[in-house]
């Protein structure tokens, strides 16, 4: 390192409030996410619906060790994920995030995925975010996605298809709308139970995914700036940065030296 050069510390996100702090936490891979519940590996496989429990991982190519490939320096630099090394199929999971005090939201997922996972393809929509990975890598990632603070069983949902409903009012049990009714509230255990997999195929046995977070917890974990948690209009630092980004991109074509007082 050259003399006098400051060590790079990612700032992750601006803002002094709790929501900004949560954004910093979720998008910083050095920080651990709080674990809220336990879901077994087999239940995760059932929810995903890509293979039967106990079945082998189907592959689309032989293991990398068995392949003779043309020399490529990048392949020497990037360590393959276990799924890529084994030749797994690419599979997906899609989460829908409620509009009402969600512990994570689609673009929040996208940034979290990019920072915490490897070998991924992601698209964020208005209510959902799809994640594609090699099959065994995806199953491993699912532990974090279902068991930690970013999953609220009532307002986060696995929806591989028919994802509509994120900004609808909640149902009488406080669950996010699902036209395929993949999940219900078990009144006896007070836990949310999946009776269908993410594609809406009926499961042989229901899969419980934990109790809904309380309203207080929802508000505490809300990743969106909301009028009754941390109003967006008082996020001075965030708004300053957004405005500067807009100016740089729109008025200066990414050339900061072109910005003038008149702009």
């Amino acid at each position: 390192m050259a003399e006098g050069k400051v060590k790079y510390e990612p700032q992750i996100y601006p803002g002094k409030d709790e929501t900004s702090e949560r954004r910093r936490k979720l998008w910083d891979k050095r920080r651990k996410l709080a674990k809220y519940r336990e879901i077994s590996d087999d239940d995760i496989t059932r929810l995903l619906g890509h293979r039967a429990v106990g079945a082998l991982y189907p592959s689309v190519h032989p293991p990398l060790e068995e392949l003779i490939e043309a020399y490529d320096p990048i392949k020497n630099i990037v360590v393959p994920t276990p799924g890529a090394r084994a030749g797994d199929r690419i599979r997906f999971v899609q989460f829908a995030d409620s509009f009402w005090h969600p512990p994570i939201a689609p673009h929040g997922r996208l940034r979290l995925y990019f920072n915490r996972l490897r070998g991924i393809d992601v698209v964020a929509y208005s209510g959902r975010c799809i994640l594609e990975m090699r099959e065994r890598d995806l199953e491993a990632a699912m532990k974090m996605l279902l068991e930690t603070e970013i999953f609220n069983p009532a307002r986060t949902a696995l929806k591989g298809i028919t994802i509509h409903g994120h900004s609808l009012r909640l149902d009488e049990d406080g669950l996010m709308f699902d036209a395929r009714r993949r999940y219900i509230l078990d009144k006896s255990t007070r836990e949310v139970v999946y009776i269908k997999d993410q594609m809406g195929r009926v499961l042989d046995n229901p899969v419980p995914v934990g109790r809904p977070l309380s309203e207080e917890e929802c508000r505490k974990l809300d990743l969106a700036y909301t009028w009754d948690t941390h109003p967006f209009k008082s996020r001075t630092e965030v708004l300053e940065i957004l405005s500067r980004a807009a100016k740089l991109r729109v008025l200066a074509g990414f050339n900061p030296e072109l910005l003038t007082e008149e702009m």
Binding site: H107, S126, R169, V250
Partner: protein, 603 residues
């Protein structure tokens, strides 16, 4: 180290201040939540959902009987069975796919009317007014007659007088309806099939106007507020333009490009007949002038992959789309800021006019017709995005801009074209809109997709900045700031289908005037390269252009001739009241043109 220490201390102070501010703000907001009940939005949502607009839970969800809660869906299910039986092949069938109607299928009120429609009524195949709006645009061509008149006098030695022009105009009505004038034994058309075909004159000269038969005139003085008429007439001058409208049926059979061909042929024949012309040198020059010289088509051709002829939606410039709009034409041509400073009620009229045009025309052309039909083959989602702009919500939210302008901008002569100045107002209005969604769960359910909210928030931002500054470019920048930065960062969600890239793609080119990168917003269009494409962006550009015109107190956006051409009362679709037409079609009370009944067996 010293500097860092000072910064840390200041940061601590800032943090404390910010926290305190937030606490106060939240306490205040809660206190004033009751006041929100007085907003028109409260009653709109109450009427739409029949429930408490603030309620976060819907106790009737999943219990409304599925699709049967909607009369229209019931009708479709019955008709689908009927079609299946008649043709011996399954058709529309509610037994396949996902169950519809687990949520409330709420009807909605179209703004400016008392008409409630169901969502399906605004699908472009169900709604004949939407079809007629597009047909009326596609079948329009405007041609300058001065070149033809000069050629007649100089080269053919003919005299052009008021009498000859009136004779020509009468002949032209006949030829536009497919009548023969120079050759015997031609196939002609049943007049009932083409009763919507005609031609009318535009001029800015009182002298020329007085000499013409009034039946053939689009009278600027009658149709526009005197202050607007004065500006339009000055811009058009003593030139004579003929607006040719070919039959709806013709553009339905071919496409918009047919308009210029039909018009050129029939216009040439009318000249031949009324002036007694012959000879290749005259006829070919006439045909050239009617096909190419000073011919205004409503849209350009598109590139090969999206191949359509001229006069098709992807080629409409945004400036023309906003000149099709007529909602403001009875209002004095005054700058919006001036009006808002003086009188909030009066300013509301300008704002309502703006949303009538944006919601009834730009949102439909962009979302329903271009993206939802021409580009993606007719899925129903984009129709629901457009319907976000039909409702009263946009007018309601815009009242905030009027109130802010009236209260806080007294004495401001002109809002400078500086982002640093404009963004304060833009941020206020965006945050107000976002908070409306947060406070009214029913509104968030009403606009249930990100594209709906992108459309609303983008249009509100675009129109606010453009109305205050009179600049369409500033409007565009505000809109993209709203959806690609502010809305996305506040909620961590944007619109549909990877809008992450689509909102950002055009940002570096927003303010570029190089045609291959950006261009004046009025000259861009739905199919313009290097800009962000997605549902709602066309409505946003429309909002920027139309609101800028209203902000400047101008009388047209891009072409005074196009503006006047769409004021024509003979048009089937009323471009001054587009939402009323769409609403009437929703309850089956709008009669379009181009029907084939005169040549069909009795049915």
């Amino acid at each position: 180290m010293e500097k860092r220490k000072v910064l840390d201390e200041r940061a601590g102070q800032l943090e404390a201040r910010e926290r305190e501010y937030v606490r106060e703000l939240y306490a205040l907001s809660k206190k004033y939540l009751e006041v929100e009940k007085e907003r028109p939005l409260y009653s709109i949502m109450q009427k739409t959902f029949g429930a408490d607009p603030f309620a976060l839970q819907d106790s009737q969800m999943y219990k409304r009987g599925g699709y049967r809660q909607s009369k229209r869906k019931q009708e479709f299910a019955r008709l689908g069975r009927q079609v299946a039986v008649e043709r011996g092949l399954p058709a529309y069938n509610r037994a396949v796919g996902l169950p519809i109607g687990q949520r409330q299928l709420e009807p909605f009120l179209i703004s400016g009317t008392n008409i409630m429609v169901e969502q399906d009524d605004t699908h472009h195949l169900n709604n004949v007014a939407i079809q007629q709006m597009l047909d009326d645009i596609k079948r329009t061509v405007i041609v300058n007659l001065d070149i033809a008149h000069r050629m007649l006098t100089v080269r053919a030695g003919k005299e052009v007088t008021p009498e000859t022009i009136n004779l020509y105009l009468e002949t032209l009505q006949h030829t536009m309806c497919g009548g023969a004038v120079a050759q015997e034994h031609m196939s002609e058309i049943n007049p009932l099939l083409v009763k919507d075909a005609y031609a009318k004159v535009i001029t800015g000269s009182d002298e020329v106007k007085d000499a013409l038969d009034r039946r053939f005139l689009i009278d600027i003085d009658q149709l526009f507020h005197p202050t607007r008429a004065e500006k339009l007439k000055e811009a058009i001058g003593d030139a004579i333009w003929i607006v040719l409208r070919i039959p709806t049926l013709a553009v339905r059979m071919a496409d918009g490009d047919e308009a210029a061909r039909w018009a050129a042929m029939q216009n040439t024949m009318a000249f031949i007949a009324s002036y007694g012309l012959s000879g290749e040198h005259i006829i070919s020059d006439l045909a050239y002038s009617f096909k190419h010289a000073r011919v205004v088509r409503m849209g350009n051709k598109m590139w090969y992959q999206r191949m359509r002829g001229t006069n098709e939606p992807g080629g409409f410039p945004d400036g023309y789309i906003c000149d099709f709009m007529q909602a403001e034409r009875d209002l004095p041509a005054r700058r919006f800021l001036e009006v808002a400073q003086e009188d909030e009620e009066e300013a509301l009229k300008y704002s309502r006019a703006m949303h009538e045009g944006i919601g009834g025309i730009a949102a439909v052309i962009d979302n329903v017709l271009w993206l939802g039909f021409y580009m993606s083959g007719g899925i129903g989602f984009s129709n629901t995005v457009a319907s976000a702009a039909y409702s009263e919500v946009m007018n309601e939210i815009s009242m905030e801009l009027i109130e802010l302008s009236h209260r806080y901008m007294q004495g401001v002569r002109k809002v400078p074209l500086r982002w640093e100045t404009v963004r304060t107002m833009v941020n206020s209005i965006i945050q107000y809109t976002m908070e409306s969604y947060e406070k009214f769960p029913t509104l968030a359910e009403f606009h249930w997709g990100g594209a709906h909210r992108v459309s609303v928030i983008g249009s509100i931002a675009a129109s606010s900045a453009a109305m205050l500054t009179g600049s369409s470019t500033m409007g565009l920048m505000a809109a993209h700031y709203a959806i690609a930065f502010a809305m996305k960062e506040g909620w961590l969600r944007t619109g549909w289908a990877g809008q992450e890239i689509q909102d950002h793609l055009g940002l570096p080119y927003l303010c570029s005037m190089r045609p291959e990168e950006g261009n004046l917003v009025e000259l861009r269009g739905l199919n313009y390269p290097m800009q962000s494409f997605s549902a709602a962006h066309g409505a946003i550009r429309g909002a920027a252009v139309y609101a800028a015109m209203i902000g400047r107190g101008s009388s047209w956006c891009l072409s005074p001739v196009v503006k006047v051409a769409f004021a024509d009362p003979h048009l089937i679709f009323d471009f001054k009241h587009p939402k009323l037409c769409i609403a009437k079609a929703g309850i089956r009370q709008f009669m379009p043109a181009g029907e084939r009944d005169p040549v069909l067996p009795p049915h």
